[in-house]
């Protein structure tokens, strides 16, 4: 297992936060764009 300094660990958390935020934007956006027309609005 690789070991990280507290500074490296903080940077890794930042990377993960960015990655999952973008995944969330894509997931929410796609769900919204598919659900709205399916409800006939």
């Amino acid at each position: 297992m690789a070991h990280f300094t507290p500074e490296e660990e903080g940077a890794r958390i930042g990377e993960a936060a960015v990655f999952w935020s973008w995944i969330a934007v894509l997931a929410v956006g796609l769900a919204y764009m598919i659900i709205v027309p399916l409800t006939g609005r």
């Binding site: 690789a2 903080g10 940077a11 796609l30 764009m33 709205v36 609005r41």
Partner: protein, 223 residues
């Protein structure tokens, strides 16, 4: 602030996305309201417009073309090269690369992602995960465009014309006009980026070769 500096690129584009999406919704609402007035129909609220297929179809047609662009670019750069372009591997490097080059399986490093060290299905999925996600977003947003377009055209068809079904909408000029007008501009921009970066430079950008690198040099890392 270290976190802001480390993640500035994605934060900038995330902010630009949110601001321009808000701008699109406001401009789209005013344009939609004017159209309703011209046809003597009652105005809708802003919230109702944002939750309507009229807005969704415009958003989705741009999403699908952007993700198609990156999907094709990622896929094409596996097998095709452009000599001299920093967007390309160098001639002779075409293909998916050996396990040693890609640091997978027994060639994985101690700090490689665990799915790179894994074998079989997990390694195949992880090895193609960027292409899989970009392709999925493209397909789903193109599906959303077609579904929203069907609703919009069904509403427009209320003036004495029959309702349109989803398969029927897929064969309409409206669907293909919305689709192809976005595709052509994406392909033009990608092609221009690949070709122009052979001879042109942007000092300091990761999308450019270093200013003094010869024109014939294709990719800095692989040379």
């Amino acid at each position: 602030m270290r976190p802001l500096r480390d993640n500035g690129l994605s934060l900038l584009f995330g902010a630009l996305f949110l601001v321009t999406l808000a701008g699109q919704s406001i401009a789209g609402y005013f344009e939609y309201s004017e159209r309703m007035q011209e046809h003597g129909q009652a105005a809708e609220t802003f919230g109702a417009f944002v939750l309507s297929s009229d807005f969704v179809v415009d958003v989705a047609e741009n999403w699908q073309s952007e993700f198609l662009q990156f999907f094709l670019f990622i896929a094409a750069t596996i097998w095709l090269v452009q000599r001299g372009s920093p967007e390309s591997k160098k001639p002779g490097d075409e293909g998916a690369g050996s396990d040693e080059e890609q640091m997978v399986g027994e060639h994985a490093r101690e700090d490689s992602p665990s799915w790179a060290r894994a074998r079989g299905f997990r390694q195949v999925v992880f090895s193609n995960s960027l292409l899989l996600v970009m392709g999925t977003v493209f397909v789903l947003s193109w599906l959303a465009q077609s579904l929203a377009g069907t609703v919009v055209n069904s509403e427009n068809a209320q003036h004495g014309q029959p309702q349109i079904t989803w398969p029927e909408y897929l064969a309409t000029p409206d669907f293909w006009s919305r689709t192809l007008q976005n595709w052509q501009s994406e392909f033009l921009a990608v092609g221009a980026m690949i070709a122009l970066s052979i001879y042109l430079r942007q000092r300091g950008s990761s999308e450019s070769k270093p200013v003094g690198l010869p024109h014939h040099t294709t990719s800095v890392e692989s040379d």
